[in-house]
Amino acid sequence: MADNEQQFGDDQWLSAYLDGELTSEQCAVVEQRLRDDPRAKQLLDELRDVSTALQTLPKEVVGDDLREKIYATAETRRENDFPHAGRARRWRWAALALAATLVMAVYLPEENRDEQPLAQAVPRQGEIAISAPKLEAPAGENKRDEIAAFKSIPTSDASSSMDVLAAGGQGGRKIEAEQHLHGVEEDFAVAGAAVENRPTDSASELAELPQLEDSTVGEVLQVHVALSDDQRGTEPFDRLLAANGIVFQEPESGFVDRQLAAPVGAVGGKLKNDSASELLEEESDDAELVLVEAPAEQIEVLLNACHDDPAQWKSLRLVGEGNSEVPLARWQSLQRGGAFRARSFGSADTPAERGMAAVLDSLSTDENSAPSLSKDQKKTAPRSSGEQLGWAVRVGRMSRVDSLRATEGERSSKIATLRSEFQRSKEQDKRKASDLEQGASIRVLFILHPGREKAKSAPSPVTKKKS
């Protein structure tokens, strides 16, 4: 054993010798050994071969195809966002877009977002999801305008949206969905009035909301989010948290509830014989649990972002006390100071795009030549501060079936486990509570459902019937 260690110690000098990381005295020792020991000479040659193999790998740079793709996407978006801009300004912006190719390659969707159907919510069987149509309100318009836009949607479109919303396939459900959506619309109006007429008394409203600290375990607000993109997993959600100043706290070893953990790692062993699509289909039954603690405003931003970006989020469903549905507008009514971020950003809708816009801004010498954050957004966007506004922890995975069918007792038990671990993790966290907004943080359990097959490949019964 000691001989092996000694041998390893001696041999690692060969590696360092190869890298030119030895002193002249150390080099002399190694060179003497190389003269005396053929095995050392052979090992040095092998190490050199390994090094050469890596060093001769092609250098990766941003490719032309990627640049062209980004250019086209950027130009399309620019046309949509700045239809009245002059040609010179357009090309100036395009040049800036080229400079930021990588940035936009990641964040802009491949397909034109404007071609997305009005509502893309595809709830799972028996579920009703909140999914308002994507509205095209010009930048700077307020919430009241948005409500007006919402009401002005043609009846036929609204009907088709309802159909999608009621994709559970049951007539009664469809009616419920319509009522639900109507309720959302009403709540929008109420929320808008609240924003315009009075400062929200968030303290009293918060007291009514389910909070982990002050409620029984079963009363924790659960937010079911269905992700649109199979390929990217829960990454968009992580990105959303990061963009909103919510820092992931890596769990301690053993933190993850093993009972809930899906054998993701085991999948890799089957890859050679299974197609990627089969694997994705299998894995789409997973759900990931992310517990978030943040001020109510930040939770609201997350919910709005999920709600308003159907390209990334298929549906959003809030479940509160006693498994009751919680209208999204309930959270939107917490808006303070008239800050409404959901739809009025014009050129930068999602947090990811706002990040892109920020970088583009940094590349621009002329603020007016690039898609920028709107005035409202500049005023309210918390992410620009770089502050930590909340934190999150990935607490485990559970199958979709479990998440939907678990009895209340089972769910409560699991959440209780998560809560205690969560609390322990927080106590271990070096960050002090003063980093967060005192007294206003709320905990929400996000249950992230990976994307399923597109609706067009498996049309809902209601849609089918209408066609």
Partner: protein, 209 residues
Amino acid sequence: MGTLRHRPASNRLAQMSGSDDVQPDDAQLVAAVLAGDNRAFGRLFERYQDRLYNTLVRFTGSRHDAGDVVQDAFVQALVKLDTFRGDAQFYTWLYRIAMNLALSQRRRRRPVVSVEEIKDRAGEEPVASQTSPDQVLIQHERAQLVQQALLCLGDDHRQILVLREMDNCSYEQIGEILDLPVGTVRSRLFRARLMLKEQLQIVFQNEQL
């Protein structure tokens, strides 16, 4: 920092460098960004995007993933620049951000590895410019196998190999980036090379090249 993105561009950087021909160093650029000169961050971005991207392609084995990470890393660096203390090089700091993101991404992404993806991971550019088509093909296939072998290593070993062989970092720089003593860098790098040597033997044997 809170208003970094929204301040109008200033001439601070030009005043600082005195001339457009003089390349300001990273510390000057960082200072300029913090003072509100948004162009300075663009210059940092242009300076390091390819280097970081190349490193991450080899670490993640995917251009797409690497692009995501580079994007996120730069945005995060921008919004957190006021936390950059300057006791490390800017690239070191940026690299740490990127690597944390890459590791986080790796943990949450499915380990789907297809043959086509492996091919894609190898890169498309020929290593040498004056070679025959057959040689180019062989080199390309060889690069695929090397990338495949690299991906078989654990994160720690792959990371240190990428830093040394592709990023050409010294042991001291690697130690700074990974927060390791130089002695550990030396032993880990040696072990990583041994492991890669074994993997290369396996993949080349399988392919009978």
